[in-house]
Symmetry: C2
Subunit: 393 residues, 2 copies
C-alpha cells in the first residue's frame, strides 16, 4: 500500500531498544494541515508535551513526524523534554523547516530517558530513504510487540476527484510490559483546513480508538494524528460538514485500525462487541459499556467461551448507570438471555455458539431511556497474564 | 472458637449445589439488635431485598440468620422473592418468631431460582444441631471455593466486663465462576442499640470490606451483618461514641476477615497495600487507589514480582485524581522509586525484594493536598484466569 500523494515515509534501525527497526519518519513534502488527539492521562510523556506545543505554535501545520519505539520518554522530567526537543530540532534542520512543524511521538519503557543522540545520528539515513512506498517500513518501525503492522485505507470523492485516506497504527494495552501505548497516524490528500480536520478526527476517534478497551489502562503517550497534504486539489474544505465523504473515510480507517488493535491484543482470542441501549444518558451508557468491557470476570468468561450473563448484569449493576431491574434485557448475538429482568428459556448450546465466535455481539437494554454506547473489548486469557507478569529485563 | 454468649449456630447439607455443607443457621436465643451493610449493585438479589425489608420492619431486631451457598437467587424475579420469603417463614415457624426477625443471605450461581423446598426440608435438622460451638460448621457451610473458613475474634471491655466480638465470612471475587459474593456475619454480646451498631458497622466496613479489591467486581449479594445479643449486661450503648472499645473490636474483626478474603483470592500469591497520600480530596485519593488496585497491568506486574512503577503512575494518571507531575513521589516499602516527578537512582534489587513480599506496601504522594486513602488488592495470576474462564458446568 502506498501513502496518499504528498507523503513520503521510511523506517530505520536506531538501536534504541532491541535490535529491530525502531525509528519511523513520515514527511509531508509540501507540508500538511494537521489535527491530533492526545492521551488524557495526567502524566503526559515528553513527546506529547512537545508535539502539543508545536501544533499550537504552527497553527496546525506539520512537515514531518518522527516516531520511535523502544523508549516512551515518559516521567523523565526536564531532561526528557530536552531530548524530545533535540530530536525535533535535528529533523527540522535536515528537512529545512521550523522546529514547530516537526511532530514527535515515542513508545516503549516508561521512566527511561530518550537516547536522542542515537536518533539524531540515524535521522539523515531516514531522510535519505524516504519514499511513497516507505509506509511498509515506517508502519513496522513503530511496533513494539504487535503481531504485525496495522495499516488501513479508504477512498472518498471530493469535487469529482477520488481521494485517499491511509493510516497506520500500533497497539495499546495487552502488550508487552511498558509498551502499552497506542499510536496512530492517518494521512490524506484532502485540501482540508486544520479546523475541519479537528472536527473530523474528534468524531472518528470517538467511535474507534475511544471505543475500544483492552485492559482499561491508558498510557502516557497515546496519540492519534491526522495529516492532510491537500494534493488532491479542488476547493478547500473549511468545515467537516462540507466533506461528509472524507469524514466517513477517515472514520472507516480509524475503525479498522482500532479493530486490528483489539484483535491483536496479546493473548486475546476473541473480541466482544458490547452495545448498551435504553440508557438514561450517553454518559451512563458509556459507564455501563465500560464496566462490562473491563470486568475481569466478564473477560475471563469470554475467554472461556462461557455465556455467563450473570457477570455481565452484575457489571452493569455496579457501573453507576441507572437500570430498570424489571425491564432490563440482554442478548448474545440473536439469543435473548434475559428479558423483562428475568432469564429466558434460551438454549445453552445456542448461547455458547455465539460466545465461541471471534467477535461476540452483546447487547444490553437498560430499560430506562434511549441513549446508547458501543465498545469493542478483548478477552482475558492466560497469555495476557504471563506476558505482563514477566519481569521487564 | 465459640460464639459470644446468646448465639448458637449450625451447618448442614441441603443438596443445593454440590455435595457439601451448604446451609448455615445462626440464632440469637433472646434476639439481637442488628445493623447491616448491603451491596450497592443495582441488581439486588432476592435475599438482599427480603432482608433489607425485614430489618426495616423489625426495627433492627434479628432472631435468626439463614445462609445458603450454591445458589445466589439473583436476577430471579418474583419467583426468587417468593422463594426467599418461603425460607424466611419456615425458619420463623420453627423458632417461634415473626418472619421479619429472620435474615436470609445467599451465594452461588446468578440467574438460578433458589430451591427453597430443599432448604425448608433441612431447616428442622439445622435447628436441632444448634450449639455455641456450631460456629465451625456454620462458617464452613457458607463457603464456595474459599480455601477454608474465615473466622476472627476480638475482645473489648464495657462497664468493667470483658466482651467478645466474633465474625465469620466468605470471600469475594477471584472466586469460582458465579460465586463472587462477599458475606460476613459479626456477632457480639454488647448491649448496643441498632443506631449505635449502624454507626459502628459503617465505619468498620469503610476501612475493611470496602477497602479491599480483588477484581473490581461487586456482586448482587454482598452483605455484612452485625448482631448484638446484649448478654454481656451493663448499661445500654445508645451511640457509637459511648463504646469506642467495642467499635475498635468490631473494626479489628472486620479488618482481619477482609485481609483473609483478599489473601485467599483464588490464584492470588501476594497482596498490595496501596496508600495514596497528598490528594486534593478523599474522593480523589480513593479514585487513585482504586485505579492502581484494579489495573490489570499493575496486578500482573505484582504477580510477577516486578516493581514496574511506570504502570502505577500511568494508572494514577488516568484515574481522574489531580496530581502534580512535578511533586509526585512513589515508594515501595522503604524504597523511594520516584521523587519530585522523576525516577530516583534506586537499586532495582532492593525494589524487587519489596515486590517479592506477601504484602507489598505501595505509597504514592500526589503532591496536591493532604487527603489520603488505602486499599488492599490481590495480584492477577494465571490461576485467576483459568479458574474464571472455566465453563460453569
Amino acid at each position: 500500500m502506498k501513502l496518499p500523494k504528498g507523503f513520503l515515509a521510511s523506517g530505520v534501525e536506531a538501536g534504541i531498544g532491541k535490535k529491530r527497526p525502531d525509528l519511523a519518519l513520515l514527511v509531508a513534502e509540501g507540508g500538511a494541515n494537521a489535527a491530533a488527539v492526545f492521551t488524557r492521562n495526567r502524566f503526559l510523556a515528553a513527546p506529547v508535551v512537545v508535539s502539543k506545543a508545536a501544533l499550537r505554535r504552527s497553527g496546525g501545520r506539520v512537515r514531518a513526524v518522527v516516531v520511535n519505539s523502544g523508549c516512551a520518554n515518559a516521567v523523565t522530567g526536564a531532561a526528557g523534554l530536552a531530548a524530545a526537543r533535540a530530536v525535533q530540532r535535528r529533523a527540522a534542520g535536515l528537512l529545512g523547516c521550523p522546529a514547530r512543524e516537526v511532530f514527535v511521538a515515542s513508545t516503549g519503557v516508561i521512566g527511561v530517558l530518550l537516547p536522542d543522540e542515537k536518533i539524531r545520528a540515524r535521522l539523515p539515513d531516514a531522510v535519505a530513504r524516504l519514499s511513497a512506498g516507505g509506509l511498509a517500513a515506517a508502519s513496522r518501525a513503530i511496533l513494539t510487540t504487535d503481531a504485525g503492522p496495522k495499516v488501513a485505507q479508504a477512498a472518498y470523492s471530493w469535487n469529482g476527484r477520488r481521494g485517499r485516506v491511509v493510516g497506520f497504527a500500533k497497539g495499546a494495552g495487552m502488550i508487552h510490559p511498558d509498551m502499552a501505548t497506542m499510536l496512530a497516524f492517518v494521512t490524506t490528500d484532502a485540501p482540508a483546513a486544520p479546523a475541519a480536520l479537528r472536527s473530523i478526527l474528534r468524531s472518528a476517534v470517538g467511535e474507534s480508538f475511544n471505543a475500544i478497551s483492552v485492559d482499561g489502562d491508558t498510557s502516557t503517550n497515546d496519540t492519534v494524528l491526522l495529516l492532510a497534504s491537500g494534493t488532491l486539489g479542488g476547493p478547500g474544505i473549511a468545515a467537516a460538514e462540507e466533506a461528509p465523504e472524507l469524514a466517513r473515510a477517515v472514520a472507516e480507517v480509524c475503525r479498522r485500525l482500532a479493530w486490528m488493535i483489539v484483535r491483536d491484543g496479546e493473548g486475546a482470542t476473541r473480541v466482544m462487541d458490547v452495545e448498551i441501549t435504553g440508557a438514561a444518558s450517553e454518559r451512563e451508557a458509556r459507564l455501563a459499556a465500560h464496566a462490562v468491557a473491563t470486568s475481569p470476570l466478564v473477560k475471563t468468561a469470554l475467554h472461556g467461551g462461557d455465556p455467563n450473563w450473570g457477570r455481565i448484569l452484575a457489571a452493569i449493576g455496579r457501573s453507576g448507570a441507572r437500570v430498570s431491574t424489571r425491564r432490563v434485557s440482554l442478548k448474545a448475538g440473536p439469543v435473548v438471555l434475559v428479558e423483562s429482568g428475568a432469564p429466558t428459556a434460551y438454549r445453552e448450546a445456542a448461547a455458547a455458539k455465539v460466545f465461541a465466535r471471534e467477535r461476540v455481539p452483546i447487547t444490553a437494554d437498560l430499560g430506562v431511556g434511549s441513549a446508547r454506547a458501543r465498545l469493542l473489548a478483548a478477552d482475558l486469557g492466560p497469555a495476557y497474564v504471563s506476558l505482563n507478569a514477566d519481569y521487564r529485563s
